[in-house]
Protein backbone atom coordinates (compact mmCIF):
# COMPACT_ATOMS: atom_id res chain seq x y z
CA UNK A 1 0.00 0.00 0.00
CA UNK A 2 2.74 2.38 1.09
CA UNK A 3 4.81 1.51 -1.96
CA UNK A 4 1.78 2.31 -4.17
CA UNK A 5 1.35 5.69 -2.48
CA UNK A 6 5.02 6.52 -3.00
CA UNK A 7 4.81 5.31 -6.57
CA UNK A 8 1.92 7.68 -7.26
CA UNK A 9 3.71 10.58 -5.57
CA UNK A 10 6.73 9.86 -7.71
CA UNK A 11 4.73 9.74 -10.95
CA UNK A 12 3.00 13.01 -10.01
CA UNK A 13 6.36 14.65 -9.29
CA UNK A 14 7.98 13.42 -12.51
CA UNK A 15 5.00 14.57 -14.58
CA UNK A 16 4.97 17.93 -12.79
CA UNK A 17 8.69 18.33 -13.46
CA UNK A 18 8.39 17.30 -17.10
CA UNK A 19 5.17 19.15 -17.98
CA UNK A 20 5.17 22.35 -15.92
CA UNK A 21 7.59 24.81 -17.50
CA UNK A 22 7.23 27.38 -14.70
CA UNK A 23 9.00 25.04 -12.27
CA UNK A 24 12.73 25.91 -12.52
CA UNK A 25 15.25 23.17 -13.38
CA UNK A 26 17.59 24.29 -10.61
CA UNK A 27 16.19 25.74 -7.40
CA UNK A 28 18.03 26.59 -4.22
CA UNK A 29 14.72 26.82 -2.35
CA UNK A 30 13.82 23.27 -3.43
CA UNK A 31 17.22 21.98 -2.28
CA UNK A 32 16.95 23.72 1.08
CA UNK A 33 13.41 22.47 1.70
CA UNK A 34 14.60 18.96 0.81
CA UNK A 35 17.40 19.22 3.36
CA UNK A 36 15.09 20.44 6.10
CA UNK A 37 12.87 17.39 5.56
CA UNK A 38 15.94 15.12 5.61
CA UNK A 39 17.21 16.52 8.91
CA UNK A 40 13.73 16.31 10.43
CA UNK A 41 13.45 12.70 9.32
CA UNK A 42 16.82 11.78 10.85
CA UNK A 43 16.02 13.56 14.10
CA UNK A 44 12.70 11.74 14.47
CA UNK A 45 14.29 8.37 13.63
CA UNK A 46 16.97 8.98 16.27
CA UNK A 47 14.32 10.06 18.79
CA UNK A 48 12.26 6.94 18.11
CA UNK A 49 15.31 4.78 18.71
CA UNK A 50 16.43 6.61 21.84
CA UNK A 51 13.01 6.76 23.49
CA UNK A 52 12.42 3.01 23.37
CA UNK A 53 14.09 1.46 26.45
CA UNK A 54 13.67 -2.08 25.18
CA UNK A 55 15.35 -1.19 21.91
CA UNK A 56 18.24 0.60 23.64
CA UNK A 57 18.79 -2.34 26.03
CA UNK A 58 18.61 -4.75 23.14
CA UNK A 59 21.03 -2.69 21.14
CA UNK A 60 23.72 -3.18 23.77
CA UNK A 61 23.01 -6.91 24.17
CA UNK A 62 22.37 -8.03 20.63
CA UNK A 63 24.02 -5.18 18.81
CA UNK A 64 27.17 -7.00 17.79
CA UNK A 65 25.20 -9.80 16.17
CA UNK A 66 23.04 -7.31 14.35
CA UNK A 67 26.10 -5.35 13.21
CA UNK A 68 27.81 -8.53 11.97
CA UNK A 69 24.73 -9.59 10.02
CA UNK A 70 24.23 -6.10 8.63
CA UNK A 71 27.85 -5.90 7.44
CA UNK A 72 27.64 -9.37 5.87
CA UNK A 73 24.27 -8.67 4.25
CA UNK A 74 25.29 -5.31 2.84
CA UNK A 75 28.62 -6.62 1.60
CA UNK A 76 27.03 -9.67 -0.02
CA UNK A 77 24.38 -7.74 -1.90
CA UNK A 78 26.82 -4.99 -2.85
CA UNK A 79 29.43 -7.40 -4.27
CA UNK A 80 26.91 -9.56 -6.12
CA UNK A 81 25.18 -6.59 -7.75
CA UNK A 82 28.54 -4.99 -8.57
CA UNK A 83 29.67 -8.25 -10.19
CA UNK A 84 26.46 -8.44 -12.26
CA UNK A 85 26.68 -4.80 -13.35
CA UNK A 86 30.27 -5.28 -14.51
CA UNK A 87 29.19 -8.38 -16.43
CA UNK A 88 26.33 -6.47 -18.08
CA UNK A 89 28.63 -3.63 -19.09
CA UNK A 90 31.37 -5.84 -20.55
CA UNK A 91 29.89 -6.40 -24.04
CA UNK A 92 29.30 -2.66 -24.45
CA UNK A 93 32.92 -1.88 -23.67
CA UNK A 94 34.15 -4.64 -26.00
CA UNK A 95 31.98 -3.25 -28.79
CA UNK A 96 33.25 0.25 -28.12
CA UNK A 97 36.86 -1.02 -28.36
CA UNK A 98 36.12 -2.50 -31.82
Amino acid sequence: MLMAVFGMIMIAGILAGARLPWIPSESRLRDNVQRVFLYTLLFVLGHQLGSDDAVVASLSQMGILGVALAVAGMLGSFLFVLFLRIQFEKPRKDAADD
Binding site: D31, H47, G50, G66, G73, G76, F78, L79, V81, L84
Partner: protein, 196 residues
Amino acid sequence: MIKYMLLCVGVGFAAGRLDYFQGLAAVSTGIILVCLCLMTFIASIDMGKKDFLKDLKNAGWKIIVYSFATIIGTLIMVWIVSPMLPLSSKDALVAASGMGWYSLATGLVFDYSPSLSVVTFVYCLLREMTAMFLMPLLWKRFQAPELVSIAGSAAMNPSIAAATITGDQRLVFYGMVSGSIVSVFVPVLVPFMIAL
Protein backbone atom coordinates in the same frame (compact mmCIF):
# COMPACT_ATOMS: atom_id res chain seq x y z
CA MET B 1 26.33 17.50 5.17
CA ILE B 2 27.00 14.04 6.59
CA LYS B 3 28.18 15.68 9.79
CA TYR B 4 24.81 17.40 10.10
CA MET B 5 23.01 14.15 9.37
CA LEU B 6 24.93 12.39 12.16
CA LEU B 7 24.27 15.30 14.45
CA CYS B 8 20.52 15.09 13.78
CA VAL B 9 20.44 11.36 14.58
CA GLY B 10 22.61 11.89 17.68
CA VAL B 11 20.56 14.80 19.00
CA GLY B 12 17.35 12.88 18.27
CA PHE B 13 18.68 9.82 20.10
CA ALA B 14 19.80 11.92 23.10
CA ALA B 15 16.43 13.69 23.17
CA GLY B 16 14.69 10.33 23.16
CA ARG B 17 16.85 9.00 26.01
CA LEU B 18 16.30 12.14 28.08
CA ASP B 19 12.54 12.05 27.46
CA TYR B 20 12.51 15.38 25.71
CA PHE B 21 9.72 15.99 23.20
CA GLN B 22 7.63 13.16 24.67
CA GLY B 23 4.72 14.10 22.44
CA LEU B 24 6.89 13.36 19.41
CA ALA B 25 6.61 9.60 19.93
CA ALA B 26 2.88 9.68 19.21
CA VAL B 27 3.27 11.56 15.94
CA SER B 28 6.68 10.33 14.80
CA THR B 29 5.27 7.79 12.33
CA GLY B 30 3.21 10.53 10.72
CA ILE B 31 6.15 12.94 10.60
CA ILE B 32 8.38 10.31 8.99
CA LEU B 33 5.70 9.55 6.41
CA VAL B 34 5.07 13.20 5.59
CA CYS B 35 8.82 13.92 5.31
CA LEU B 36 9.29 10.94 3.01
CA CYS B 37 6.31 11.88 0.84
CA LEU B 38 7.47 15.47 0.42
CA MET B 39 11.10 14.50 -0.14
CA THR B 40 10.00 11.95 -2.74
CA PHE B 41 7.84 14.55 -4.47
CA ILE B 42 10.64 17.12 -4.62
CA ALA B 43 13.14 14.50 -5.82
CA SER B 44 10.63 13.38 -8.48
CA ILE B 45 10.26 16.93 -9.78
CA ASP B 46 14.04 16.99 -10.28
CA MET B 47 13.79 13.65 -12.09
CA GLY B 48 11.08 15.03 -14.39
CA LYS B 49 13.22 18.07 -15.14
CA LYS B 50 16.19 15.86 -16.08
CA ASP B 51 14.35 13.73 -18.68
CA PHE B 52 14.40 10.74 -16.43
CA LEU B 53 11.56 8.88 -18.19
CA LYS B 54 13.99 8.13 -21.01
CA ASP B 55 16.42 6.53 -18.56
CA LEU B 56 13.54 4.54 -17.08
CA LYS B 57 12.90 2.87 -20.45
CA ASN B 58 16.59 2.07 -20.85
CA ALA B 59 16.96 0.55 -17.37
CA GLY B 60 14.36 -2.22 -17.97
CA TRP B 61 14.92 -5.80 -16.86
CA LYS B 62 18.32 -5.19 -15.32
CA ILE B 63 16.78 -3.55 -12.26
CA ILE B 64 14.76 -6.71 -11.60
CA VAL B 65 17.94 -8.79 -11.88
CA TYR B 66 19.77 -6.43 -9.51
CA SER B 67 16.91 -6.69 -7.02
CA PHE B 68 17.08 -10.49 -7.02
CA ALA B 69 20.87 -10.25 -6.74
CA THR B 70 20.42 -8.06 -3.67
CA ILE B 71 18.40 -10.81 -1.97
CA ILE B 72 20.64 -13.68 -3.09
CA GLY B 73 23.88 -11.82 -2.30
CA THR B 74 22.65 -10.99 1.19
CA LEU B 75 21.61 -14.56 1.99
CA ILE B 76 24.77 -16.15 0.58
CA MET B 77 27.12 -13.85 2.48
CA VAL B 78 25.20 -14.22 5.75
CA TRP B 79 25.22 -18.00 5.32
CA ILE B 80 29.02 -17.90 4.77
CA VAL B 81 29.58 -15.70 7.82
CA SER B 82 27.14 -17.48 10.16
CA PRO B 83 29.57 -20.24 11.38
CA MET B 84 31.70 -17.44 12.86
CA LEU B 85 28.77 -16.09 14.91
CA PRO B 86 27.12 -17.47 18.07
CA LEU B 87 24.03 -18.09 15.97
CA SER B 88 22.85 -21.02 13.86
CA SER B 89 22.92 -20.61 10.10
CA LYS B 90 19.15 -20.88 10.05
CA ASP B 91 18.71 -18.11 12.62
CA ALA B 92 21.17 -15.91 10.76
CA LEU B 93 19.22 -16.44 7.53
CA VAL B 94 15.91 -15.76 9.29
CA ALA B 95 17.22 -12.42 10.57
CA ALA B 96 18.86 -11.54 7.25
CA SER B 97 15.62 -12.24 5.38
CA GLY B 98 14.23 -9.06 6.89
CA MET B 99 16.33 -7.24 4.26
CA GLY B 100 15.95 -3.91 6.07
CA TRP B 101 12.19 -3.88 6.63
CA TYR B 102 12.42 -3.65 10.41
CA SER B 103 8.76 -2.99 11.19
CA LEU B 104 7.58 -6.14 9.42
CA ALA B 105 10.54 -8.48 9.89
CA THR B 106 10.84 -7.88 13.64
CA GLY B 107 7.18 -8.77 14.11
CA LEU B 108 7.43 -11.86 11.93
CA VAL B 109 10.52 -13.16 13.77
CA PHE B 110 9.18 -12.38 17.28
CA ASP B 111 6.95 -15.46 17.48
CA TYR B 112 9.85 -17.67 16.42
CA SER B 113 12.38 -16.14 18.83
CA PRO B 114 12.07 -12.83 20.73
CA SER B 115 15.86 -12.49 21.10
CA LEU B 116 16.34 -13.09 17.38
CA SER B 117 13.73 -10.44 16.66
CA VAL B 118 16.01 -7.93 18.43
CA VAL B 119 18.92 -9.01 16.21
CA THR B 120 16.61 -8.65 13.21
CA PHE B 121 15.61 -5.17 14.32
CA VAL B 122 19.21 -4.05 14.79
CA TYR B 123 20.22 -5.65 11.49
CA CYS B 124 17.40 -3.98 9.56
CA LEU B 125 17.83 -0.60 11.21
CA LEU B 126 21.60 -0.62 10.71
CA ARG B 127 21.17 -1.60 7.10
CA GLU B 128 19.02 1.44 6.44
CA MET B 129 21.05 3.85 8.55
CA THR B 130 24.42 2.64 7.25
CA ALA B 131 23.21 2.84 3.66
CA MET B 132 22.12 6.42 4.27
CA PHE B 133 25.74 7.34 5.03
CA LEU B 134 27.56 4.87 2.79
CA MET B 135 25.70 5.70 -0.41
CA PRO B 136 26.90 9.32 -0.62
CA LEU B 137 30.41 8.32 0.48
CA LEU B 138 30.77 5.59 -2.16
CA TRP B 139 28.90 7.47 -4.86
CA LYS B 140 31.97 8.74 -6.73
CA ARG B 141 33.50 5.28 -7.13
CA PHE B 142 30.43 3.14 -7.69
CA GLN B 143 27.09 3.32 -9.45
CA ALA B 144 23.43 3.35 -8.46
CA PRO B 145 22.62 -0.42 -8.69
CA GLU B 146 25.25 -1.61 -6.20
CA LEU B 147 24.83 1.45 -3.97
CA VAL B 148 21.09 0.92 -3.71
CA SER B 149 21.57 -2.80 -2.98
CA ILE B 150 23.28 -1.90 0.31
CA ALA B 151 19.94 -0.82 1.78
CA GLY B 152 17.93 -3.87 0.70
CA SER B 153 14.20 -3.33 1.02
CA ALA B 154 14.69 -0.03 2.82
CA ALA B 155 16.36 1.47 -0.24
CA MET B 156 13.89 4.30 -0.65
CA ASN B 157 14.85 6.45 2.36
CA PRO B 158 18.64 6.23 1.94
CA SER B 159 18.30 6.76 -1.80
CA ILE B 160 16.35 9.96 -1.34
CA ALA B 161 18.89 11.12 1.24
CA ALA B 162 21.81 10.21 -1.04
CA ALA B 163 20.18 11.91 -4.01
CA THR B 164 19.72 15.03 -1.91
CA ILE B 165 23.44 15.10 -1.15
CA THR B 166 24.88 13.94 -4.47
CA GLY B 167 22.29 15.32 -6.86
CA ASP B 168 22.21 11.93 -8.65
CA GLN B 169 18.47 11.37 -9.10
CA ARG B 170 19.04 7.89 -10.55
CA LEU B 171 19.51 6.76 -6.97
CA VAL B 172 15.89 7.65 -6.20
CA PHE B 173 14.61 5.70 -9.18
CA TYR B 174 16.76 2.64 -8.42
CA GLY B 175 15.86 2.92 -4.74
CA MET B 176 12.13 3.00 -5.46
CA VAL B 177 12.12 0.08 -7.88
CA SER B 178 14.70 -2.13 -6.17
CA GLY B 179 13.27 -1.39 -2.70
CA SER B 180 9.77 -2.29 -3.89
CA ILE B 181 10.85 -5.56 -5.49
CA VAL B 182 12.91 -6.67 -2.48
CA SER B 183 10.06 -5.65 -0.13
CA VAL B 184 7.63 -7.90 -1.96
CA PHE B 185 9.75 -10.91 -1.01
CA VAL B 186 10.26 -10.10 2.71
CA PRO B 187 6.82 -11.35 3.89
CA VAL B 188 7.48 -14.60 2.02
CA LEU B 189 11.17 -15.07 2.77
CA VAL B 190 11.05 -14.70 6.56
CA PRO B 191 8.35 -17.36 7.15
CA PHE B 192 10.09 -19.58 4.58
CA MET B 193 13.40 -19.37 6.45
CA ILE B 194 11.64 -19.99 9.79
CA ALA B 195 9.97 -23.08 8.34
CA LEU B 196 13.27 -24.54 7.08
